[in-house]
């Protein structure tokens, strides 16, 4: 059986590599060298919509009592259909795929979904954790991530300072990321009118970039021998391209029906969306953990707001119930709610369309920017206190969208706030 000190030290390193959140105030430094590997697997599926599979493997190697190197590899694959942003109606609608070389038809009464959603992402993240002395620890990391149309590279640094009495850890972190996007079919022109398959689409060659800077300040405090509290404040500032190049808005005519651009093909009139070129987000996060004779309560709350007009609240509760020395059950509840972004609008009324290329106007019908609540319920079963701890968790996630303002005519008969549900299955193992 592995030495528990190794496990504890590596767990500390693993947590630190992702940010704050360690109770290392109570952990001794690693006094033995070793390696450790962990792996996780995710299956995520929304009925009739997207399916995702994601695998993560992470390894740690202790160079010395002070230095630990880590490497994390992520591979994920997405397939299926994604909401395009168009509205449903009482007749069939035809849309052009992002490549401009295909079409798909959405039946009357159904939410338009783009079925050409397919991507694979690879991500590699090395980290170096160093304990300078009994008080200071640093984590230096980087990340490189590539998918078909997206590339991201980032660097991060974190400092943890633990007080002499081991009761409190202060954390300060910094991340800078540079993303570039090269969309299928080219970069859409804001509010450009999507043409028939094979036509000249309102897209340009080239790619766009986004730079993101994240700052994080945190305090982890030991309350007593059985409980801990954590408080984080984080700031995220991004500049550059924030538009989703695959989302568009329906143009609605008199009677509340989408305008048909081409009666011959049934092509619906839809315009590419356009979002602001910057975003500033603030998050306040608090977490409380307590042991109840082997059972563990883990409760957290996050408040986020940004300059897009979005406020959100997230409440997360887990309670680990120890069944015996090595196995446990952990119920999980999560509740999330957000209001809509200032520029969210579910459709555009004919006659009020911004001109193609009008980047001063902003509008998106992406439901993820609308009013929404999310509810997750799940159960995890696992083995710990063994050579190779493992767990499996099954969860159900339901997104309920807010009512849409400004509906008229036929739109009133359509469900523009269709719920989205997902089944989530997760495996986790220490090798």
């Amino acid at each position: 059986m592995k030495n528990q000190n190794i496990i504890a030290a590596l767990a500390t390193a693993a947590v630190s590599a992702l940010g704050t959140g360690t109770s290392e105030a109570q952990l001794g430094q690693a006094d033995l060298l070793g390696t450790d590997f962990k792996g996780s697997l995710l299956f995520y599926t929304e009925p009739d919509r997207v399916t995702a599979v994601e695998a993560i493997i992470e390894g740690y190697y202790s160079l010395s009592q002070r230095d630990t190197l880590g490497i994390k590899l992520v591979v994920d694959s997405l397939t299926g259909s994604s909401a395009s942003g168009a509205v449903s109606s009482d007749f069939d609608q035809t849309f052009t795929t992002p490549s401009g070389n295909g079409t798909y038809t959405t039946r009357a009464g159904e939410t338009p979904l783009d079925p050409s959603f397919l991507d694979t992402r690879y991500s590699l993240s090395p980290t170096w954790t160093r304990a300078w002395d009994s008080n200071y620890e640093t984590v230096i990391g980087a990340n490189i991530s590539k998918e078909y149309d997206y590339f991201s590279v980032s660097a991060n640094a974190l400092v943890n300072y633990t007080t002499d009495d081991r009761n409190r850890t202060y954390s300060a972190g910094f991340t800078i990321a540079q993303d570039s996007i090269d969309p299928e079919g080219g970069l859409p022109i804001a509010f450009g009118l999507i043409q028939n398959q094979g036509g000249i689409q309102p897209r340009l060659l080239g790619e766009e970039d986004k730079t993101t800077i994240d700052l994080l300040l945190g305090i982890t405090q030991v309350i007593d021998e059985k409980s801990l509290f954590q408080f984080n404040y984080s700031l995220s500032s991004s500049d550059g391209y924030h538009t989703d190049p695959y989302k568009f808005l329906s143009v609605i005519g008199p009677g509340g029906r989408p305008v048909i651009e081409d009666p011959g093909t049934g092509l619906s009139r839809v315009l590419y969306e356009n979002r602001p070129d910057s975003r500033l987000k603030h998050s306040v996060f608090a977490k409380y953990k307590r042991d109840f004779d082997g059972n563990v309560l883990d409760a957290s709350y996050r408040f986020m707001f940004d300059d897009w007009g979005i406020n959100s609240h997230t409440l997360d509760l887990k309670y680990k119930i120890r069944l015996n020395e090595t196995s446990y059950l952990q119920p999980h509840l999560r509740y999330y709610m957000q209001n809509e972004a200032d520029f969210y609008q579910p459709f555009i009324v004919a006659g009020t369309e911004p001109a193609a290329g009008d980047t001063a106007s902003i509008a998106s019908s992406d439901y993820r920017l609308g009013e929404m609540s999310g509810f997750t319920v799940g159960l995890e079963y696992g083995w710990d206190n063994v050579d190779r701890p493992w767990s499996v968790a099954l969860e159900y996630y339901l997104q309920s969208l807010g009512t849409v303002d400004g509906q008229f005519g036929e739109l009133l008969n359509q469900d523009l706030s269709e719920d989205v549900s997902a089944i989530i299955l997760k495996f986790n193992m220490d090798f």
Partner: protein, 81 residues
């Protein structure tokens, strides 16, 4: 890049910071140095005992909601359509 904040939101942040300061100045808290067999040194008493699971969760909710971050940082960007 950094725009001025609405007063009400600043109050929320400042309240949190004051709460943290109050917490950090409260001499009644703490347990002192703990041994390797103490409750707080157990892996399941770490603030994030399963970072990989947290990374999976972050990816899901980042892709489906308008919020992200707060708990920690790191990881990689993605298009996440």
């Amino acid at each position: 890049m950094f725009r001025s904040l609405p007063f009400a939101k600043m109050k929320v942040i400042l309240s949190g910071l004051f709460a943290a300061l109050a917490l950090s100045s409260c001499s009644g808290l703490g347990a002192g140095p703990q041994g390797p067999t103490s409750i707080l040194s157990r892996p399941d008493m770490q603030m994030d005992p399963s970072p990989l699971i947290s990374a999976l969760d972050d990816h899901i909710y980042f892709s489906k909601e308008a919020s992200s971050g707060g708990r920690s940082f790191g990881g990689g960007g993605c298009g996440c359509n």
